[in-house]
C-alpha cells in the first residue's frame, strides 16, 4: 500500500523549503521503488515547524518538522518503519499549540487538498450551501445576523446588517466582492485560507450571492500573493466543474459565478471604496460615503463587500447554526478570530480562538516570547494602522470594544512582536512614511498630514525643539484622525500616538535607553 504524505504548498511553507522537500520525497521514493502519494495541502499554521510533513496512519496523521531535504531519506525510512525520528511531533491534532485552538474557519486548512471538491465535501464542505439552498433569503439573513459575525477585515461592522441592506435594495444587477487585499503587515490569514481552503471562501460568497440576489462575484487579491491567486483560480475551476458555480448551482435555480482580479501594489485598495474603484479599472481613490457600497457599490450597483475571513466564516454558521458560532466569544465580539502571531516571535503562526483571550496569553504563553530571546517591548496589533501596546497593557482581551477602549484596534488580528532593541520613534516615523507613500491623495489630512508628520518626527529625533514638535505631532494626529476620509489617514495616528504615549522616552535626541544598550 502506498504511503500518503502531506506537504504544504502554502507560500509560507514554500518560503522555507516545502517545494524542495516535496521534490526530495518524490525522488528518494522513486529511487527506492517505494510507493508514495504526495498531497499538497495548505499550512496548519505552525510556521516555526514548517516545512511540516504529515503521514497518514491508522492512528491519524503524524507530523514531522521542520523538515530539510537532507533529512528526507531518513524520514522515509522512519515512515516506512516504526515511525521514530528526531523530528517526529506526534499525532498532528494532539500538538498542544493546535489542540488549544478552536478552528471553525480554519478547520480544513492544512488538512485537505485545496483543489479537490471531493476532499472539501468529505470534510464537511458545501453542507452550509446545501442548507442555504433550502432556506429563504430572510432565513439566511436571520442566521447570519444572530451569529453575531462582524466584518473580519477590521471595521467589525455586523455582516448580517450589510447583507440585509443589499438584499432589500432593488437593482438590475448586484455584486458580491471579496476583499483579499490583505496588505497589513503581520497578517496572513487571508492568504492561508485562500491557499489552503479556497473553497470555503467560494462557498461563503455563493451563499452571499443567493441571499442577496447577486449572480456575479469578484475576488480582489493583491499582486503580492501570486500563490493565493493561483490557488483561488484553480478552486474556481474545480467548483465550476462540479456544478457549484455557474448556472443552476447544485441543481437549484440559482446562478452565481466568480472571477479573480489582481491588485497592483496599492495598499489603500484594501479600503473598500478604493477597492471598488480599482475593480472598475480606475485609480484606487477613496470614495466619500454615503452612498454606502450596499446601496451603490461596484459599477453603481448594490454590493456586498466583505473580507475573506468574513465569507469563510459563513459556511460554518449555515451548517451548524448561528448559535454554534455565537456561543464562542465575549461581549459583542462573537465567534472565533484567526489571530496571526508574527514578527520577532518564537512560535509564530495562525491561532484561531474565541474572542476574549488576552494579549499576554497570546504573546507569552502561546507565542513563547521573542525569537531573539530578548524581552518583548512592544506589540503592534492590527497592522500598520494599529496601536503599539506595551507590556503594561497585556491584560487587554482580544475583543473589538476592549481594544478600542485602550486606544487600539484589533483590525485584521495581526500581532507583530518587537523586542527591546526597537526604537519607537523610528516606528512612529515609519507609520507616517507609509501613510505618505500609500495615501490616495484625495483628502488633505492624510495627504499632507502624513508628510508633515514625517518631517516633524525627524525634527524630534534630531532633538530640535522636542516639546513643541511633539505638540505639533499630536495636533497633526488629531487632524488626521477626525478629518480623513478613510482609515488610512484616520488610523495612522494609532501607531504614532500609542508610541508617543507608551514609549515617550524614545522621542528625543538619541534615546538614552538604546545608548545604554550599546
Amino acid at each position: 500500500m502506498s504511503m500518503r504524505i502531506f506537504i504544504p504548498r502554502d507560500a509560507g511553507a514554500v518560503a522555507v523549503g516545502a517545494d524542495d522537500v516535496a521534490l526530495a520525497f518524490e525522488q528518494t521514493a522513486a529511487k527506492r521503488g517505494v510507493a508514495i502519494e504526495i498531497v499538497r495541502t495548505g499550512s496548519r499554521g505552525l510556521y516555526w515547524l514548517e516545512p511540516m510533513v504529515e503521514l497518514a496512519t491508522p492512528q491519524g496523521r503524524i507530523a514531522f518538522g521542520p523538515v530539510t531535504t537532507a533529512e528526507v531519506p531518513a524520514l522515509l525510512d522512519a515512515m516506512a518503519g516504526n515511525g521514530q525520528h528526531a523530528l517526529r511531533l506526534g499525532v498532528t491534532d494532539e500538538i498542544p499549540w493546535l489542540k488549544r485552538q478552536t478552528r471553525l474557519t480554519f478547520a480544513r486548512c492544512g488538512v485537505i487538498d485545496p483543489r479537490s471538491v471531493d476532499d472539501y465535501r468529505a470534510h464537511g464542505g458545501y453542507r452550509g450551501l446545501e442548507r442555504a439552498l433550502t432556506l429563504t433569503s430572510d432565513q439566511i439573513l436571520a442566521d447570519v445576523t444572530t451569529s453575531g459575525l462582524r466584518g473580519r477585515g477590521g471595521a467589525g461592522f455586523p455582516t448580517g446588517i450589510k447583507w440585509k441592506t443589499v438584499a432589500q435594495t432593488s437593482a438590475d444587477r448586484k455584486y458580491i466582492v471579496c476583499n483579499a487585499d490583505e496588505g497589513d503587515s503581520g497578517t496572513f490569514a487571508d492568504r492561508m485560507i485562500m491557499e489552503g481552503d479556497p473553497l470555503v471562501v467560494i462557498e461563503g460568497m455563493t451563499i452571499a450571492g443567493i441571499t442577496v440576489g447577486a449572480t456575479k462575484g469578484y475576488i480582489y487579491i493583491r499582486s503580492e500573493y501570486p500563490h493565493a491567486v493561483e490557488a483561488m483560480n484553480a478552486a474556481i475551476v474545480a467548483a465550476r466543474r462540479a456544478g457549484l458555480l455557474g448556472k443552476r448551482i447544485g441543481g437549484s435555480v440559482h446562478e452565481f459565478d466568480l472571477e479573480v482580479r489582481v491588485g497592483a501594489g496599492a495598499y489603500v485598495c484594501g479600503e473598500e471604496t478604493s477597492l471598488l474603484e480599482s475593480l472598475e479599472g480606475r485609480r484606487g481613490i477613496v470614495r466619500a460615503k454615503p452612498p454606502l457600497p450596499a446601496h451603490k457599490g461596484l459599477f453603481g450597483r448594490p454590493t456586498v463587500i466583505n473580507n475573506v475571513l468574513s465569507f469563510a466564516a459563513i459556511p460554518f454558521i449555515l451548517d451548524n447554526g448561528a448559535k454554534a458560532y455565537s456561543d464562542f466569544g465575549m461581549g459583542r465580539s462573537r465567534g472565533t478570530m484567526p489571530i496571526q502571531l508574527a514578527g520577532n516571535i518564537k512560535y509564530g503562526g495562525l491561532f484561531e480562538t474565541a474572542f476574549g483571550i488576552t494579549l499576554g496569553e497570546l504573546i507569552d504563553d502561546i507565542g513563547g516570547g521573542t525569537f531573539t530571546g530578548r524581552p518583548v517591548r512592544a506589540v503592534q496589533v492590527g497592522g500598520p494602522l494599529g496601536a503599539y501596546f506595551p507590556r503594561a497593557l497585556f491584560d487587554t482581551p482580544f475583543d473589538y470594544e476592549a481594544f478600542a477602549a485602550r486606544d487600539g484596534l484589533i483590525g485584521h488580528a495581526g500581532v507583530v512582536v518587537f523586542d527591546d532593541s526597537v526604537d519607537m520613534a523610528k516606528q512612529a516615523r515609519f507609520a507616517m512614511e507609509f501613510c505618505a507613500v500609500e495615501s490616495c491623495g484625495k483628502c488633505t489630512p492624510c495627504r499632507i498630514g502624513s508628510t508633515r508628520g514625517v518631517e516633524t518626527i525627524n525634527k524630534i529625533i534630531n532633538g530640535e525643539r522636542v516639546a513643541q514638535n511633539l505638540a505639533v505631532v499630536e495636533d497633526l494626529c488629531n487632524t488626521m484622525k477626525f478629518g480623513s476620509l478613510c482609515a488610512l489617514g484616520g488610523f495612522t495616528p494609532y501607531p504614532v500616538m500609542s508610541a508617543l504615549k507608551h514609549f515617550r522616552e524614545d522621542f528625543g535626541p538619541a534615546p538614552a535607553r538604546l545608548q545604554a544598550a550599546e
Binding site: 507560500a11 509560507g12 514554500v14 518560503a15 522555507v16 499554521g45 510556521y47 516555526w48 514548517e50 490583505e182 496588505g183 497589513d184 503587515s185 503581520g186 497578517t187 496572513f188 487571508d190 492568504r191 499582486s223 503580492e224 500573493y225 501570486p226 500563490h227 482580479r261 489582481v262 491588485g263 497592483a264 501594489g265 496599492a266 495598499y267 480599482s278 475593480l279 472598475e280 479599472g281 480606475r282 485609480r283 484606487g284 459599477f299 496571526q340 508574527a342 514578527g343 520577532n344 516571535i345 509564530g348 503562526g349 495562525l350 525569537f371 503592534q380 497592522g383 500598520p384 495581526g414 507583530v416 512582536v417 518587537f418 523586542d419 526597537v422 516606528q427 515609519f430 507609509f434 500609500e438
Partner: protein
Amino acid sequence: MTSGYEPWDEARGAEIIAEHSGLEGATLVILHALQEAFGYVPEPAIPMVAQALSLSRAEVHGVFTFYHDFRKQPAGRHVLKLCRAEACQAAGGDALAARAEAKLGISLGNTTADDRVTLEPIYCLGLCATAPSAMLDGRVVGRLDETRIDALVAEAQR
C-alpha cells in the same frame, strides 16, 4: 527575467488589449497583461488601451501611474524584492536590507548599472511568521539571515 519578455510590438500589444477589453473594468487587467508580456508597460500602449476602452489617455495614464506595480521601463534581469514592513522590521529586516544594498551598491528602488538586478522594497508578502522575507523573480524566501541574503544577492547577480 527580462530576457524572457517579448520586445514591444504594436500588433502584439493590440492583440493583448483586444483579448481583455470586453471585461468589466478591464484597465488593470490589460496593464497587467501587457507588463507580463513585455516586462513593462510600453508608452505607446497607453493610447491604445484608452481607445479600446473608450477612455481618455489621461485616465489610462492616471491608472498606470497610481499603482506601484506597473513599470515605465524594463526591470533588471532579476528582481529582488525585500519585505520592509513591520513584521520583517521586527525580525531584523532593516540590517538585512542595508546589507543587500551595500552588496549590490544600489539603494532600494534601483537597478544595478549592468542591468542585472533590480532591488525593490515590498510592503508585506504575508510571510510574517517566517520573517524576514523576500521574493526573487516570483520565488518566495523566508527566515532570512545574513547567509541567506548573501546567497540570494549572489544568485540575483548571476
